[in-house]
């Protein structure tokens, strides 16, 4: 089976404009979550990691004809542009796929005070995907994944599968989501938004903090494109709890099954996993379910982190941002601690990383879960010595 390599990436977040910048901020222990007082989003102040105006202006200035693009599309373009630069992957190659992951895309158009012309067309996710594809002159038709909070992870899994099946040689997977009144009010209506910066897996966790961000991961079946330490996407799986549309499984069994399938596909066992980058949204139910799945699959001693304390929950971008940080961690053999975590607050024993943990990272697991009962698991593996030049 074709190996699929992670050859280039970008994270565009309130913490920085490149993956490297982002990873540096994490190493400095900086979180993007702030108390936000934007009245256009919420009457009450709330905690979230949002782009400031300056960042958007910079983005706008850097994209020709940026007026033709929405903020959501500008984020995608800026992130894809960064990731493509020097990657050796050519959008004009019909063998290059473009996959866009998002949950709500241009939803803010719906909130606009003035009626937006051609609203239905402009708000459609495939429209944004076509605009981004057109900007880079992708030849292949772009693919949009919109599968709640596993969208980013599912984008990577889909890219991996399309390369393995021989349909494409490269896949550019870009994800983004913005926090609008629509999204925030929805999570607030669920009483799911934490009144303080979120605290994944913590005993006193009170819910999520939302975040904005975009990220791009470029996968390729061509190992010649690998730069630096080489990471492959070894396996991935998705599935459904078949339990409840807005609450996760009580047992974690389903996520456990998905994890095992991903491990099996990657040819590794639970013991081989050196680190787990969990979804860890800091809602009571999600973290409990994930902990149970980790426990059930025999990885209670594997260092687990959640990056939500730095980025907030970036929805459709989360799987991508967190996978890219995991890849960076593997390259530096460094587990990033779980910001906001103090004391374990789940009913099964798992090892939540609380401080920087320098350790050899050969195989890492990334999990994600979302509304609709969906789960995803991805395994990243460092290449065998034989692959490295």
């Amino acid at each position: 089976m074709t190996d699929v390599f992670a050859v280039s990436d970008n994270i565009l977040s309130p913490l920085g404009m490149t993956s490297a910048e982002n990873f540096e901020r994490l190493k400095e222990g900086v979180s993007g979550i702030r108390l936000q007082e934007d009245k256009s989003i919420s009457d009450e102040p709330f905690y979230a990691a949002l782009f400031d105006l300056k960042m958007d202006e910079e983005l706008a200035a850097s994209i020709p004809l940026s007026r033709n693009f929405t903020k959501f599309e500008r984020l995608l373009i800026a992130s894809v542009r960064q990731a493509l630069a020097g990657s050796g992957v050519d959008p004009a190659d019909p063998g290059t796929a473009l996959i866009i992951s998002t949950t709500k895309g241009n939803i803010s158009l719906l909130e606009a005070a003035e009626p937006v012309p051609d609203l239905t067309t402009n708000i459609a996710l495939h429209t944004s995907a076509k605009k981004v594809a057109g900007y880079f002159q992708f030849v292949s038709q772009p693919l949009v994944v919109s599968n709640a909070c596993i969208s980013g992870s599912l984008g990577i899994i889909t890219g991996m599968r399309l390369i393995r099946s021989g349909r494409y040689r490269h896949a550019v997977i870009a994800g983004a989501d913005l926090i609008s009144k629509f999204v925030l009010s929805g999570f607030q209506s669920f009483q799911a938004v934490s009144p303080e910066p979120c605290r994944p897996f913590d005993k006193d966790r009170l819910g999520i903090s939302l975040g904005e961000g975009a990220a791009t991961l470029i996968l390729s079946g061509n190992k010649a494109l690998i730069r630096g330490a080489s990471i492959k996407v070894a396996g991935g799986s998705t599935g459904n709890d078949a339990n409840h549309i807005s609450g996760p499984s009580r047992t974690g069994q389903e996520l456990g099954t998905i994890i095992q399938k991903a491990l099996g596909e990657s040819g590794v066992t639970a013991e081989d996993i050196d680190h787990i980058s969990a979804h860890g949204t800091a809602t009571p139910y999600n973290d409990e379910m994930e902990a149970k799945a980790i426990f059930l699959t025999g990885m209670s001693r594997t260092p687990v982190n959640s990056l939500k304390g730095y980025y907030g929950h970036t929805l459709g971008a989360a799987g991508l941002i967190e996978s890219i940080i995991t890849i960076a961690s593997m390259k530096e053999d460094l587990v990033i601690p779980t910001m906001g975590f103090r004391k374990l607050g789940v009913t099964v024993p798992i090892h939540v990383a609380q401080s920087f943990l320098p350790t050899k990272l050969e195989h890492c697991l990334k999990t994600a879960s979302g509304f609709g009962g969906c789960n995803a698991a991805l395994v990243f593996s460092k290449l065998n010595a034989s692959y490295t030049a």
């Binding site: 709500k104 495939h126 919109s146 999570f187 209506s189 459904n240 078949a242 389903e254 969906c374």
Partner: protein
């Protein structure tokens, strides 16, 4: 060489009517979608109180899946994680997005908000049937049978799934259309109705059914 895969069954729902395996079950119906779905539900003698709280997109997909799976008793013999759902559409959850936004003027409704994601429909079908296999929701400007053939074949070939419900479920501003396909790699004997030609799972066959059924 990968094994052949078959469309064991198909179901379509649109204003042009409701069809199962090509034959018309319900006539053309141009009532507003909500009224039509409720009538289809009542008509079919289904009893699933959760139906009433679903949004229109989920109702549409769920009803199509119920009709699709009606005689597929063999599917119960598969493990939950061997059956997956891969769906697509053009409008994502726009229909409900608009409704949710209206509720925010007064009191944001969590019951509506949860349906502002198109994959909730996958959750509803999964809960009903205890399907726990692969999930995927993709957005295209139009029905892309080529992608479905590619992606679902890959899921079956690589051993992720033995059977998959795939297709298109879309609720636009004035229109709706659902076309679901029940796909399996090695259909048990009981799967194919007598005289069923064993339609191959191909882009061409899906396109043909999609066009003939819903236009």
């Amino acid at each position: 060489m990968n094994k052949e895969k078959y469309i064991i069954s198909s179901c379509s729902i649109s204003p042009a009517g409701v069809r199962k395996d090509g034959s018309l079950l319900y006539d053309r119906d141009d009532r507003p979608l909500g009224d039509f779905l409720l009538s289809l539900y009542t008509h079919s003698g289904m009893d699933y109180p959760k139906f009433y709280k679903m949004d229109r997109l989920s109702k549409l997909g769920w009803l199509a899946s119920e009709i699709l799976l009606k005689d597929a008793t063999w599917i119960k013999e598969l493990l939950p994680e061997e059956v997956g759902i891969v769906l697509s559409n053009a409008h994502a959850s726009l229909d409900t997005d608009i409704k949710y936004l209206a509720t925010t003027k007064e009191f944001p409704s969590p019951a509506v908000f949860v349906y502002t994601l198109p994959n909730i429909m996958i959750g509803e079908i999964s809960i009903r049937n205890n399907f726990k296999g692969e999930n995927g929701f993709f957005i295209f400007d139009r029905f892309d049978a080529g992608f479905l053939e590619q992606y679902v074949s890959c899921l079956i070939d690589e051993g992720h799934l033995r059977s998959c419900i795939c297709g298109w479920v879309d609720v636009g501003e004035e229109d709706y259309r659902a076309a679901l396909f029940l796909v399996a790699g090695d259909p048990p004997d009981s799967a194919a109705p007598p005289g069923h030609p064993g339609l191959l799972f191909t882009k061409t066959n899906m396109d043909k059914i999609f066009m003939e059924d819903t236009l």
